[in-house]
Amino acid sequence: MERYVYADNAATTPVSKEVVDAMMPYLTDKWGNPSSLHAKGREASIALEDARARIAACLGADAKEIYFTSCGSESDNWALKGAALAGKQKGRTHIITSKIEHHAALHACAWLEKQGFTVTYLGVDTNGVVSIEELKAAISDKTALVSVMLANNEIGTIEPIAEIAKIAHEHGALMFTDAVQAIGNIPVNVKELGVDMLALSGHKIHTPKGIGALYIKKGVRIDNLVDGGGQERGKRGGTENLPYIIGLATAIERAYARLPEMERVAKLRDYLIDNILAAIPHSTLNGPREGRLPGNVNIGFEYIEGESMLLLLDFEGIAASTGSACSSASLDPSHVLLAIGVPHERAHGSLRLSISTETTKEDADYILEKLPPIVQRLRDMSPLYEEAMQAK
């Protein structure tokens, strides 16, 4: 293998050495339980609160507003279920979300529907932007929560969260945003967004898997998801995963410090998009040109299927992902691509490249060298391509 290009940073990111170095003392010597009163416990407790404050500072929040969880999915589940159950006590049994949320949020909503809540799934335009009109039409004084992701994991659309939050608050509803894909890619500030809750995950910003957090604005009350021994001010049970929390604090500071570099990443993204579309006929960009995460490229290739493309790219040392059903084991291709109006057959042939500050121009050129012959090879094998060419 000549080169290895990791272009699947939206799935997970390489663990940073800086993060591991920061974690190491807490995996070895500093193993105390932050809840213990003795010296070992105090040492852990001080480190825990320091990490919380550092994360809060990045987000523009107060340290007391940050709660640690095991992952982004737990944060999503807690925000949605906790806010719904708390809303129900005030007679609010309606949730509004979008059709392009992560499955952690969508499946939590499906669970809430089974519990008797009503859920509205807002449509999106062809760029993946949530319909404000549909939101205004759906929201009422029965709405407990509006939940819309800050940026989409598949097509990179950045949603107008501040505008949505304002509408939610006008109707007395809470506003939650899943910022798992946004953190580290765009500036994220809870005050500027005006949200009541925000979910984030460590492994998308170079920590190991297994750590997440939920921002809950001071004064906002939601029900617990995990009851336990009073940790996290009684809101999330379970002895705190201190090494990973330290890792998360280091990772988020590192990510915020690197935000100026995202301008270069966005240029590399556009370089990839422009050159792929120019080099490969019958290809289209999925998602917006503007208002897109700087690392997200998602292109549909007609007449071929995505998993085959991924396998052949992998052989060339390029790691990517696809919205094809064949890669996810479900009957339908990506719900996000279908929501923006991409037909099934084209959604099967989609390729997502998610690049980062670690991606170089040489990496992009390598992708541009290897991708076109792979697409052509699969088209030469495809009966759909044969029919389409005969029709011309």
């Binding site: 085959s308 396998l311 094809s324 059903a325 890669s327 084991a329 479900s330 009957l331 291709p333 099967h348």
Partner: protein, 151 residues
């Protein structure tokens, strides 16, 4: 959910045997649909009841390509009657197994062979039960089984 492919599957996917078309094919079968993400088209050359050549084109995942490739290898040189007994299980075994979620791809390969043979009989004006079988397969809305687990 395991998506790991066997060595044989990867071999047949990366070096598929018999890709292409037979211009003067005696039987052509096509099954699947683009909406579900897999289509197989099979071309057969038949002489004196023996399949002397088989070629395919497939739109689909790694397993779909590999099962098409293996199925053509398994029927080449065989009699029509032998080819009609080809099962997806036999294709899976020959490939050293398939992930559970990919089993439907092997069903498609078996069906593509049947459809191509049905087309052969129709063109020859010979009545054969495989014609009705193939029509049922092509008429069905291709609602093959998928598991619903996700990562």
């Amino acid at each position: 959910m395991s998506m790991l492919y066997s060595e044989q599957v990867m071999d047949h996917f990366t070096h598929p045997r018999n890709v292409g078309v037979i211009e003067d094919a005696d039987g052509i079968g096509e099954i699947g649909n683009a909406k579900c993400g897999d289509i197989m088209k099979m071309y057969l050359k038949i002489e004196k009841g023996i399949i002397v050549d088989a070629k395919f084109k497939t739109f689909g995942c790694g397993a779909a390509v590999a099962t098409s490739s293996m199925a053509t290898e398994m029927i080449k040189g065989k009699s029509i009657d032998d080819a009609l007994t080809l099962t997806n299980k036999a294709v899976i075994e020959a490939l050293g197994g398939l992930p559970a979620v990919k089993v439907h791809c092997s069903v498609l390969a078996e069906e593509a062979v049947k459809c191509a043979l049905a087309d052969y009989y129709k063109k020859q004006g010979i009545a054969h039960p495989v014609i009705a079988e193939a029509e049922a397969l092509m008429g069905a809305d291709h609602d093959h089984e998928h598991e619903t687990t996700e990562e």
